[in-house]
Amino acid sequence: MSAPNKSYDPVEVEALQPQQIEQMRDEALAAIAAATDLDALAHVKTAHAGGGSPLALANREIGALPPQAKAEAGKRVGQARGAVNKALAARQGELEAERDARVLVEEAVDVTLPYGRATAGARHPLATLSDRIEDIFVAMGYEVAEGPEVEAEWFNFDALNISVDNPVRSEQDTFFVAAADGSEDSGMVLRTHTSGVQIRSLLERELPVYVIAPGRVYRSDELDATHTPVFRQVELLAVDEGLTMADLKGTLDHMVVSLFGEGMTTRLRPNHFPFTEPSAEMDMLCYVCRGESVGNPDRPCRTCSSEGWIELGGCGIVNPKVLIACGVDPQKYSGFAFGFGIERMLMFRHNVEDMRDIVEGDVRFTLPFGMEI
């Protein structure tokens, strides 16, 4: 900004003749009209409306005019600049519209081009299904308990009232760890269930105990379409005062509703396990046909073989002998427990037909399951 000028310069005064101002204006308007694109218009704007443009210079000179000429000159220059700015804005609008209509269209790309540049990974569905089941129980107040996969026979069998003569303790069912010194009996197995974690929880935690024990377990089966020697289980243990089979049933019902939706339910059938008494086999309502396929040959159901129910696993009231082996007073406390294999649940929840697909690690199987299921 220039300071007011007290000494009048006759030459400069000359420069503010009305014709000159009109000429500046007309040249500017002509240049604006001649600008063919937004870049050219930006140059025109700098040349004819910018700080160094003739009209801007003329405007600056107004201050140097004698007071009687100021008003007249100010008005002329102001009108000229107004006309130029208006024309600029109008042209700007025209050119932008033209660009939108033509140039952006010319810049069009094929947005349907594939772009698998950063390739996706995935978690294994057994892991995410296990997480999901854990979350259901964690939300209820349970905690997730874990333990080793090579386990002492005492934790895996003895404490669970599975006697030495029980056939599950044979080499047909259980992987035994060889003793380091070559002797016959190491006293250790690859755990056949995560029940050892239940025992550890009862020994280590304060009562009441509400835990869920997910993890890898082992049985000496050959891999085929429906069996795998290495699989995952989720077991649950609740030990508190006054727990009942009704509580077990309600807990199972809650789980299947959480996993499969409203209206789902479970069914208990008597069975026998050494570590529970009473014991039950647990079935869940077939989430596909909801039992409608039973006795209804027109609507067969592949998921449940038209049985209406899907076998989940075993459950029951913790055998008081197990509580005693963990130093829990069975007069005061009772508990319930259940366990099931996640592979089977993955198979029927996600239409997997062959166990081998689950265990072989083929990326084509795992990828569609993403991060959560």
Binding site: G121, R123, E149, F175, E277
Partner: protein, 845 residues
Amino acid sequence: MRVPLSWLREYVDLPAGTAGRDVQAKLISAGLEVETVEQVGEGLQGPLVVGQVLTIEELEGFKKPIRFCTVDVGKANGTGEPQEIVCGARNFAVGDKVVVILPGGVLPGDFRISARKTYGRVSHGMICSARELGMGDDHDGIVVLPPEHEVGTDAIGLLELVDEVLDIAVTPDRGYCLSLRGVARETATAFGLPLSDPALIDVPGPKAGGYPVQVTDEAGCDRFTARTVTGINHEARSPIWLQRRLQKVGMRPISLAVDITNYVMFEVGQPLHAYDRTRLNGMIGVRRAAPGEKLTTLDGVERVLDGEDLVITDESGPIGLAGVMGGAHTEIADAGVPGADGSPEAGAGTTEIVIEAAHFDPVSIARTARRHKLGSEASRRFERGTDPQATSAAAQRAVDLLVLLAGGTAEPGVTEIAVPAEPRTVAMAADHPDRVAGTRYGRETVVRRLQQIGCYVTGSDDLIVTVPSWRPDLSFPNDLAEEVIRLEGYENLPSTLPRPPAGRGLTDSQRLRRRIGRALAGAGYVEAPAYPFVGTEALDALGLDADDPRRRVVTLANPLSDNEPALRTTLLTGLLATLRRNDGRGSHDLALFETGLVFHPREGAGTPPRPPVDRRPTDEEIAALKAALPDQPRHAAVVLTGAREPAGWWGAGRPAGWADAIEAARTVAREAGVELILRQDQHAPYHPGRCAAFYAVAGDGTEVRVGHGGELHPRVTKALGVPERTAAMEVDLDVIEFAGAGHRPSGPRVSTFPVATQDVALVVAADVPAAEVEAALREGAGELLESLRLFDVFTGPQIGEGRKSLAYALRFRAPDRTLTAEDASAARDAAIARAAERTDATLRG
């Protein structure tokens, strides 16, 4: 256990029209796993009658012998004239009674019979084989009936050809259901009908003159009944009804005496053994075998006995494995059938039989059966526990049948050996079942249900329950509660939710593992958990030295495959096998990860103790149990090959390599709040020039090694058959977790003053690790350094042989002022000076 409905009806008067499916549903609800209901003779339609062969004409000129027969079928064909039938079987003669299906009849499998021309004659019906009638698969020949059946008799009824058979998977606690008697009891209860107990018969008490028996091992055998039947007609055959019942339960009829012992076993659940009295040598004994003693069992196998085996003996030595299998020598024989041992009596046929009905210790029987891999129908029942009170009745049933069907005479002498035992009682609060179930049954229901299973109940609030002799599984209040609850119906249990105390959620470690899984999957890795079994071959392929700790493995006594007898010490064996499998199936761009346990034997660890289970183990016992187990740290590992980023219309792709693997280790560590320190290392299975060791600084300031990563050694990729340049890394998550324990980022103060950037290019010797240069620059630059980034690595003639240029972008910023050019330059110069001092770096000119 297979249960023919027709047989079951003998003990439970089921309403007419009750189908097998109805019984199935009721029994399932009561806790018996009825797996199937087989429809025997489904679709069979008469006329199917007894016929007598009148004439047989052998037809010549066909590929196989063909007979043209005339058969008297009585009035069944409407005319009484002989029926002309063509038949391809030859096991019958003129005068034999056979089963004839007439035109209009239908055999099982929708096989419709009509008069038809065949082999040049017209056949008006068919003479039937056992298989065609659905009587069993083991006979192709024609059924030849005993002569007493009259021609024209309906054979469907005579042969009980139409029936339903329940197949029940009996759980180990319900041995009593391995009999019609037991299943009938459950059925009667389920239908609310009375039971006629086949074991509830008059039996004589002990009487002198019975076959002498001495039990020396009363723990192994607390009950022994011996009965003798003489004058047996060894030509007598089992009647049709007996054969049919055995066929339906899945036993093959053999000879009358054997069939009777089997029949009684299925009827009352008591296995019997029949000895040919003429082959017994003196007193029968029950004792443990002498180790090494020998016995040839019925199956002709000579077995070397164990000192724990319970044996039946006579004065010649062992004559049977008690409760498991009899010996060959005393086997009863049919007429004309040589003794299994080729003894001189061969072919004589047994006429005098000693019946043994005993109760053996279940555990002893189970061990012997397993030891000799010799499961039998008898051992199945004994090892689940038979009814010790049923021996006399079972023996009596066998005696009755031998008298009735074989024309024998029961000798009056009765041998009964019984170790005195009190009836077993269980004390239970009357409301205990209510408290177990979480519902209210009330005392009356509880008592009624217990009585239904055979208990005798006294007491009001506190019940004294005497359990029946056939239920050795009922010992504790919960056992009784289960009986009440199952009979009241598990399906009627209410559904309630307990109220656990507030939980603490997932542990830090559990959350960390989930984060790591997501972070790796987010970085493009696919989780691929592998079986943890390995063999020496896989460890050799990794190029591990002989003394590499990863060669010290936990071994299985009974591995699935002898090639993989051990448990993994590294995740890489499994991951690389999975990578190879995927590659072989045509997926070539692969990035896989696994987190899981590896197993290291613990030096000097002994065998875990076996504390008793009638109390809590002591703290020392618990500690000893845990200390004996192998170390089982959790690892995380990745492997990758092919393109990390594919080529496409956007330009070139990028191959996966050592840097990706190392970055994956950083990704894992970062989730734990751990900044990895990298050092060049040489470590199998990695390329010696492309392997990093990873370290972390723990909270206590100590440095711990967490793993290795890099490119695999070319020998390793070749040995494993995986693509060259496959990269991998493996870290110990437990160590990372330890190093990151307590990590909690504190919020940075964000300065809003402008940034001053400076680029520097430093020349160092080629073997100077970039990490060292960077550390020196950071240290020298001081607090004003906001960030530092290596943006170029350059080698070439301009730099000089054996040297490299590292170009860094440094960003400086102060929290409280705008930095001047002088401030930034001073910091930069200090950084360069420190790098020069530490790494001989010179500023690139």
